[in-house]
Assembly symmetry: C2
Homo-oligomer: 415 residues x 2
């Protein structure tokens, strides 16, 4: 089964907005084993919309559209979808009644313009929206499934999960599709592939897809089965084989990102940490404190961008700094030790490097980063050379530091 | 003139990748006054691709496709576009020669599979690619312009700017379209609209679009004229009217984001700053150090998440902290003063607040943030209450702090 996603709204075709609905739906459909063949963002234009619906219905088994279900003149989704299907719209009295009640509850009289929110495509089924005025609808169109959902994510997401996924599941003929995502940090896509391809290519159910991004690789294992339990069993049979050669490098199988995993480990053990960041300039602190409840494990960070800050705040030895340079294993280690001892926390982390675009030399090129740990996660240092521009180097450095903390806490060998 | 963008590649339909090319092209086309009617992301599937090209060519004046021009079996853009146009492909001997030379330069013999990169759609024009093997092409298709560009942004972007924009300009019939973006921080979209709509609605050339995002509003002014100079003149005539009621609130008219603007002001004046961050947890430091050359103005940040860190590192008075609480104007001010004096820099910034989701009370709800400045940008404090979840609150707090620094440096009144 393949799907197509239509994100509707002229505001989505301007630089400030992103198609978060389309990305959410892509991820959710993939999790359920459904490939997305195309993702289309369309302006609020009647002819464009009708053409987009017609094209999508000509090539996809499932078409999910979001947005354009409101009461304004720009909200054309219902009309365009009906026209593309060659069907009419009927005004649903039950929806009309619900709309009127909703307005009355706020002491307002419903303006006639709102009535079109009660229009349903002939043969369509209403999908109730408990969080907003615009209901969704699902239409069986010559064996294809067309779903219209409202644009606000807080309305769309629960409707998709509770009402649309079961409809899609029913079309899979009772078969259940489940995907588990295995995440790995600080390892290249080709290294993961080389280590694991001999194993997963021997399995056709689940099938495996590898996805790589800077500092992260994901393995998507999708199984088809008669029941959830059987799908899980099939996935686990392969996952257990994949874990062996990777020896602890998979950091998450439950959807969590690396900062959340490290945060949970620290909270579990009642450990607190302090950071000393130079080239990452606070990015590691920002990523860790993005996790709700960060105050349970995060005590402080010293963003020691200038050398004077390294001396003042971390007690880095000026002679050593002059000798080895700010970007050196020795300085990274002194930063980690300084962060831990001066904050009286359990773990200290030091990061120093050259993020670029300038400042690189033959000896110390752009992308060179030293990371050091001190304390309850072990005393370790790592020298890494990250590819890419300033942003990528900085992100990969934070990813590598998080992975070092995780491995240290779990007693896994250094990389 | 309206455009449609096709981003080609199955990897773009997985959660780890984003359509950065499509977003770049949307922004660039808008800057040149061309509306994007639809943006389509398509998998590497021959039938889907052909259908996407056919649909796009049926409804847009300009179709720009990126990706799928490489040598592998999955690279189907040339074939699909030719089929959609009902034209053949010819193998271009000059491209073939260039490809062979490129391989020879690296001491390799070109495999036959690479030859298809020399295929050009009948009637198409080759767009040279100085940074990669796959050239682009431009085809006039019954009055519509179809452009194929390679996927890597480092190849695609310079080709688009130097080769495609002039082609599009030529089609505008000598008319020039120019857009200037006016950026405003820490002001709501509706407040901007209320202040400015009476002015810009009186202008039809340039026309104005307002776009809002958390912590930022953009005004896009698009003028059509016979020459660049005239378009600029028209834009300036409106922009100068819009600046008055906003009294210095527009922070950028040249594409720069707020951290870059603040960085440039600090560098210009030779001022250095130090931050003390609590609820933003290093995010302001990370945003400022993302600017290349940040070491010229950024000395250090104290990420004092825990209270002990505020006492140790910033000299916040324990009695005052106990009395007013960590989230208070008094603590924010003490943090800013501590950051400046202890780092011996020119400007200190203090931020403390409740980012959520927990920790809010009736008195101090989630989203409440105090920001203080001390030193060469003035001694100022601001109490703000930001809407939204943890991420939004944190981002808006950094945006408000940057705007305070900017206004302080320019001697503008506090907000």
């Amino acid at each position: 089964m393949n799907a197509e996603i239509l994100a509707i709204g002229s505001e989505l075709l301007t630089p400030l907005r992103s198609d978060s609905n389309a990305l959410y739906l892509t991820a959710k459909l993939l999790e359920h084993g459904i490939t997305v063949g195309a993702r289309v963002t369309v302006a609020d234009d009647r002819a464009l919309l009708e053409s987009a619906f017609r094209t999508a219905l000509s090539r996809a088994d499932v078409v999910v559209a979001t947005g354009g279900l409101g009461p304004t003149e720009d909200d054309l989704t219902r009309e365009a979808a009906a026209a593309a299907l060659g069907r009419g719209l009927r005004r649903d009295p039950a929806i009309l009644e619900t709309l009127r009640e909703r307005f009355a509850r706020y002491g307002r009289v419903m303006a006639p313009v709102n009535e079109k929110q009660a229009d349903v495509i002939e043969g369509g089924r209403v999908l109730p929206n408990s969080r907003g005025t615009a209901p969704g609808q699902a239409v069986d169109a010559d064996g294809r499934l067309l779903v219209l959902l409202p644009g606000p994510p807080s309305e769309m997401q629960p409707m998709f999960e509770s009402q649309v996924l079961p409809l899609i599941g029913a079309r899979a003929g009772g078969a259940v599709l489940r995907t588990r995502v295995l995440r790995i940090a600080s390892m290249s896509e080709s290294d993961v592939e080389q280590a694991l391809a001999p194993i997963y290519t021997a399995f056709t159910n689940p099938r495996t897809t590898i996805l790589g991004a800077p500092g992260q690789v994901e393995l998507h294992l999708t199984a088809q089965a008669a029941s959830d339990a059987e799908a899980e069993q099939r996935i686990e049979a392969l996952a257990s084989r994949l874990r062996e050669p990777l020896a602890g490098r998979i950091y998450s199988e439950d959807g969590r990102e690396l900062p959340e995993v490290v945060a949970a480990l620290l909270l579990e053990r009642g450990l607190r940490l302090a950071l000393a960041e130079s080239c990452t300039g606070g990015l590691l602190a920002a990523r860790l404190t993005e996790v709700p409840g960060a105050s349970g494990f995060f005590e402080r960070a010293y963003v020691t961008y200038g050398n004077q800050a390294k001396l003042d705040l971390l007690g880095v030895d000026p002679a050593a700094l002059a000798r080895a340079g700010a970007v050196s294993e020795e300085t990274a280690r002194a930063m980690a030790v300084g962060a831990r001892t001066r904050s009286r926390t359990d773990i200290g982390v030091g990061i120093t490097g050259i993020a670029g675009p300038d400042g690189g030399t033959a000896d110390k090129p752009v992308g060179l980063v030293f990371i050091a740990l001190d304390g309850a996660a072990g005393a370790r240092t790592r020298r890494a050379h990250f590819p890419g521009g300033r942003d990528r180097v900085r992100f990969q450095a934070t990813q590598a530091a998080l992975e070092m903390i995780r491995r240290g806490l779990l007693g896994l060998s250094p990389l």
